[in-house]
């Protein structure tokens, strides 16, 4: 047996060893023994951006988070309307034509509407509340609807925060969000 053959058999043995140990280690990966059992209790929830932050008083923020959306309008519409009128005492209607009661009763059910058949955007000048895309300037939309009056021209210093875009561009490929700083 020359040296070349010794190397050959040695490498063959090593290969067999690693192949065997690899397949042994792969078994748990093929059938992962992951525990998904147990019960989970509600901690936080969110529909539209900034609703709890802006419209719910500090002493009821936890309560709002624990209220199912189907019970929110009954429990929170009146408080939302008071909050709206505290933020903008001159509120009449907004650019959607909604008076204070109607606007806040829509907002109090804190769910994000999402269209399955058209453009998904918080507001793009045409479509209203058909989703929330990453680049949507949702704060300006909400400021405009709270402070802008019937045609959006009231309180011009309060209807935009003048931050119109994210600090990194979004991607058109999954997962769409920008890489971290």
């Amino acid at each position: 047996m020359n040296l070349k053959n010794i190397f050959f058999f040695a490498s063959l043995l090593i290969s067999v060893f690693f192949l065997t140990s690899c397949s042994d280690q792969e078994d748990p990966v093929v059938t992962p023994n992951v525990d998904f059992s147990g019960s989970y209790a509600l901690s936080d929830q969110m529909g539209r951006p900034a609703i709890n932050t802006v419209f719910v008083s500090d002493d009821r923020k936890d309560q709002f988070n624990e209220t199912e959306p189907s019970d929110m309008a009954a429990g929170f519409s009146a408080a939302f309307e008071s909050r709206l009128l505290a933020l903008n005492p001159n509120y009449t209607t907004n650019a959607l034509g909604l008076d204070a009661t109607t606007f806040t009763s829509v907002l109090a059910s804190d769910v994000l509407n999402v269209s399955t058949q058209g453009k998904t955007t918080f507001f793009d000048g045409t479509n209203v509340l058909t989703g929330r895309a990453l680049a949507d300037d949702v704060i300006d939309v909400e400021l405009l609807l709270i402070f802008g009056g019937p045609d959006g021209s009231s309180n011009s210093g309060l209807t935009s925060d003048n931050v119109d875009a994210n600090d990194k561009p979004f991607s058109t490929t999954f997962p769409y969000l920008a890489s971290p700083w």
């Binding site: 147990g38 901690s43 969110m46 951006p49 959306p69 059910s109 999402v114 999954f174 769409y176 971290p180």
Partner: protein, 217 residues
């Protein structure tokens, strides 16, 4: 001395309020700053496939780059995207996501085992898993059963001059500055992104959707 202590406390409280507030920050004192804190939620048509919808939630807001490398998902937290497709504001479908040993598992969309504030994981539902993407690595994604999933640190997609808004609310300013300052610039969040076929969510033209976190009892 008492006065100075009072002023200091006030400043700290103001600073904390600033820290915890974003699109859904300071929303819930009991979850602020925890791994169950949803800082933001988005739902939109997939930019790559108009037959799909994308759901994404941001958890643990305002992570500095220095803090991001050691940030992890809380494995006792279940993230759910809830979908009402018959306009009664009660979920008809749910997408569930959990992290186990550094892997994210997404289940659904599926009929929830129960509606409301209590959940169990429907691990018999169609699922997909992927490694959680480490900080600094290329995004690790996976697709199975028509579902795509990603979990890991991302730039916070939210933008807002929160400082100016706080100044207005506090009576210290009468309007926003132009240009404004994005309070969330240069900060990261822990993101979970899930893309599913629209057809898996029912036939409704308009869905009511929301994101929840639930903690294992």
């Amino acid at each position: 001395m008492k006065k100075i202590a009072g002023i200091t406390t006030g400043l700290i409280l103001a600073g904390l309020a600033l820290f915890f507030m974003s699109a859904d920050h300071i929303d819930a004192p009991s979850v602020a700053g925890s791994g169950a804190d949803i800082t933001d939620y988005y739902a939109f048509e997939s930019p790559r496939n108009s037959n799909n919808l994308v759901f994404t939630a941001s958890l643990q807001g305002l992570l500095s780059p220095a803090a991001t490398g050691s940030a992890t998902f809380d494995e006792s937290v279940l993230l759910e995207f809830k979908i009402d497709n018959d306009q009664d504001l009660i979920e008809d479908m749910v997408i569930q996501a959990v992290v186990r040993d550094g892997k994210v598992y997404a289940f659904g969309p599926t009929t929830p085992n129960q509606t409301g504030g209590a959940s169990t994981i429907n691990s018999d539902a169609p699922s997909v898993s992927a490694d959680v993407t480490p900080y600094g690595s290329t995004a690790i994604i996976n697709t199975a059963n028509g579902i795509s999933v990603f979990a890991g640190p991302r730039d916070d997609p939210f933008f807002f001059d929160l400082g100016a808004y706080q100044a207005i609310l506090g009576g210290m300013a009468s309007g926003f500055n132009d240009p404004g300052v994005d309070t969330f610039a240069g900060t990261n969040v822990m993101s979970i992104v899930i893309e599913v076929p629209k057809s898996s969510l029912g036939n409704a033209a308009m869905l009511n959707t929301w994101a929840t976190t639930k903690v294992r009892l």
